[in-house]
Amino acid sequence: MTTKYSYFPGCSLKGIGRAYEESLLPVFRALDVELEELEDWNCCGATAYMAVDEVKACVLASRNLAMAEKLGHKELLAPCSACYLVLNKTKHYLEDSPSVRGVIQKALAEVDMTYSGNTPVRHPLDVMINNVGLDAIKKRVVRPLTGLKVAPYYGCQIVRPYATFDDQHDPQTMDRLMEAIGCTVVHYPLKTRCCGASLTGTLPEPGLLCSKILLEEALKRGADVIATVCPLCQFNLDGYHHNIKKRWGDFRIPTVYFTQLMGLAFGLGERELGLHRGFIPMKPLPALAPAAVGT
Amino acid sequence: MSNEWQPRIVAFFCNWCTYTAADLAGVSRLKYASNTRVIRLMCSGRVDPQFILDALAKGADAVLIGGCHPFDCHYAEGNYKCLRRFQLLKRMLADMGIEPERLRLEWISAAEGEKVKRVINEMTAAVRALGPLGIPQKFAEWDKEMEQFTAHVQAAEALKAPCAEHAPTQEPAHV
């Protein structure tokens, strides 16, 4: 039976993070989960916006939440970590702060919208593990990624500050998911360390160092690939290789979305999954080479 | 003190937990609304529903009962007995048209001075929003209505009297 979720892609998934959406949709389809994109969604109000006006950021997010509630599916899926956090944070503010709640409700009323707080915001990783289930995922695997050593990288904002579906210090959901599709998970102590986020674009030195530490440690732990859940993390780890090399040396390791790896295991094609959009390509895996080529 | 109307809340606190908690709130210098008057009992099980009705009848706007947490009653299970009576009484008060916010039962342990503050503040705000219960005034009004009615009937009787020789004798209208 098909399950339906409302889907909030967020700006990045239409731009630098296109490959995330390109792999997310078919993987969910393969698992009989349908995602219905919110009509006319707007920016979630993420990090940079919050630095200007936190209340307005919450108002922005609330418009999306209100539209999701109206759409009628029980839950809203937000794949980008920043969107996931801001939408959840807004929900918390609505519950905890009467003053913020007052402003949001007034602003929504202005455009004939309401939000009663009933639509939970979920991350695809959470849904994969807790709703779809590892068994269903294993059943769908046609080409186990045996031998592929993955460093699971969760980043910050899906476990902090609201650890809703995984442990805050040592999250395990992606580890289990990667094992389910046949990968070998390497011990990666930096799995929740910050990637540098938007700093990489604004203040290269500290931002790049954050990314470099992550890449270096993944290589040291013998990983072939880093799996991420966030478009910004993916961009930081994948896009700045050249800049990092200039400063600290060559730390070349591909970073892909966890959905791309799942797609590969499900037998989907590399192009179909947007794997060609990465700067550092994944080495072709012997196990999947014959099928992957030419699709 | 402002001249606006102040709610009056009568509280029955058990000696071991809630009264001690209120003492703790004092020792910790927590600040809360001054509308509650505490009557100390040994156990919340001693709270006779009549106390509550009496308090409301004598002008209280609300009644608060504080007892030990379940399993923690100094007398093993007095708090359960209190809870049972409370549930029944709550239904009865609802039938009488008294808002449920006017009667509250809280389990407050000796360590929860903070909770005493919270509960009293919440309750004061809730009762303030409801406005006065005013049962004594209502009693007075009813008495007045009765008197007027009696007077009215008597006046009518007096008028009828000359030609009412054969009318059946009437009971006096006093209640």
Binding site: - | Y32, S34, V38, Q50, F51, D54, H74, A110
Partner: protein, 671 residues
Amino acid sequence: MDKPTNQNIRIGFYVCHCGSNIAAMVDCPAVAKYVETLPHVVLSRDYKYMCSDPGQELIQKDIAEHKLTRVVVASCSPLLHEHTFRGAVEAGGLNPFFFHMVNIREHDSWVHTDKAEATTKAKELAHAAIMRVAMHKALEVKRVPVHPDALVIGGGIAGIHAAMTLANAGKKVFLVEREPSIGGHMAKFDKTFPTLDCAACILTPKMSEAGSHPNITLLSYSEVTKLDGYVGNYTVTVKRKPRYIIEDKCTGCQECVANCVYKEAKFPDEFNEGLGKRKPVYIPFPQATPQVVVIDPKTCLNFRNGELTGKCKKSCVTACGEKQAIDFNQKETFLELKVGTVIVTTGFKAFDAKRMPQYGYGKFPNVFTALEIERLVNSSGPTGGHVVLRDGKTEPKSIGIIHCVGSRDKKTNRWCSRVCCMYSLKLAHLLKEHTGAEIYNFYIDMRTPGKGYEEFYDKLLEEGVHFIRGRVGEVTDWAMSKEEMEKGKLVIRVEDTLAGYVRRIPFDMVVLATGLEPQEDAQSIRRMLNMSCGTEGFFLERHPKLAPVSTFTEGIFLAGCCQGPRDIPDSVAQAGAAAEALVLIDKGYIEQEPNTAYILDDECCGCKSCIPLCPYTAITFDAAKKKAVINEALCKGCGTCVAGCPSGSIVQNLFDDEEIFSEIEGVLAHE
């Protein structure tokens, strides 16, 4: 002014300023003036300190001069001074129960901010008391005899000291300990701060003295499961867990241990925090008291899932020989004791370091807890005092000690555990002495308030131990690329708040100074003994300053860490609290509030509704008279039956209906 006067009811009213505690927020003269107008009041005064001697004498003088028959004092909480004023009233020649107290400090002046409101409240509360006291009746204080024997629950240093104090005074004491040996946490320590006395040297003589004292019945490997009866006369049920050894027959020769079919000890040893190994039959530590072995059915071959299988060849029985001390058929037994007083010394539990995953305990082998280090530095410990890493051979060259693990943290325990700073200093000293390693202490605030403690800190500073003021962010096992020193080490990342740098420091060994928290089963003990707990779960004393070892139940006392974290000297000092139990035993009786209930025979219709309401089975039914009867000795005065009686024929002394109704009327009378 005309007000009802009654020759028999002449009330004197006193409002106390309590210095400025009350007077600053309540207009005391105005309250006195208001009360003066109330019925039956013949005298109304305000006074600076009512509880002082002159204050009490004032009451006595007024009783005589003004022929007062009732007294009301508006001051602090009755839980604090009701007793004092009743005494004053009695000294003045009145029945002490012709007195009522109004709480205008804890319930009024301390919790309100508007003087007019607080004054109104004080007036209303006083009004209620005036109306109530008019209804008061003369009552007799109940005297309940106290059983002379005492029970001490928990055989740590506090329990041992308390038991010894009582026993030396000639009282019979039952000392119940749930582990196979008494000694508690202190037995595990190597040295004690700040004097660095060897813990065993000062503790073990006390242990064996307690074990052999003629007045002490030591019940080790036992737990108190039930406490029945009433104040001064408790019936205690003690569960004696089967140790499969007949205590009287065992001489502690340990032949059985030597001859166990397991030639090598292979099970984690509890006493050594799992760092050493023991056999299924073992003695917890060399100085264990009683000197009796114990058989662990979980590991003994003769058992399977707790059931006796008889499959082992039982070489231990053979080794024991004629003593015949081993009894595999031993079952759990229950013992009933009669005692009059109870001293609770159940101690603490060390914080579980796994609850702070960022410090890596359980994940990185070379992260240790402080208790583990106590065993490692101990010459009778698993390594003979040789400090090594978890691999059993490498000596650490650098050690980081993290303070406040699990303490001062809203997410775990909010309180300061009081002993960690000092024991961390002690461990730093011992570790340095044993290994010569570089030692770093990471602390938030250094707390050394005790005799000789600051001097000990000084000594450590001079010894060259490093101190970094900063709470450690994380302990990790990854190295920065350029930092050769970090390779293969545990790296601590911390802000050195005094130097002003964030630092990464590599260590061979990390020690977590775990805090103290209540025992896991503290709640069930608390319920069994009818005690209260603070929010943090430690047992609550009657008054933090004036009655720090008493509880709200007469005859039950507290000492040691079960009441809150404290160090050894404080625990022992507090265990002198046993002296308070002594006073009670010697006095021979406990005075009880005469707040029991009784039946008005004429009105009781014999409906029996009250009988199931009483949790103490104090109410019975007199079939001949067809009336309920209350046994005053069993009644504890809760009043639940009074509220439940449909015909209103039960009366509770001190809290009878008319007293409460007049109190209700009183608080609502003022407008």
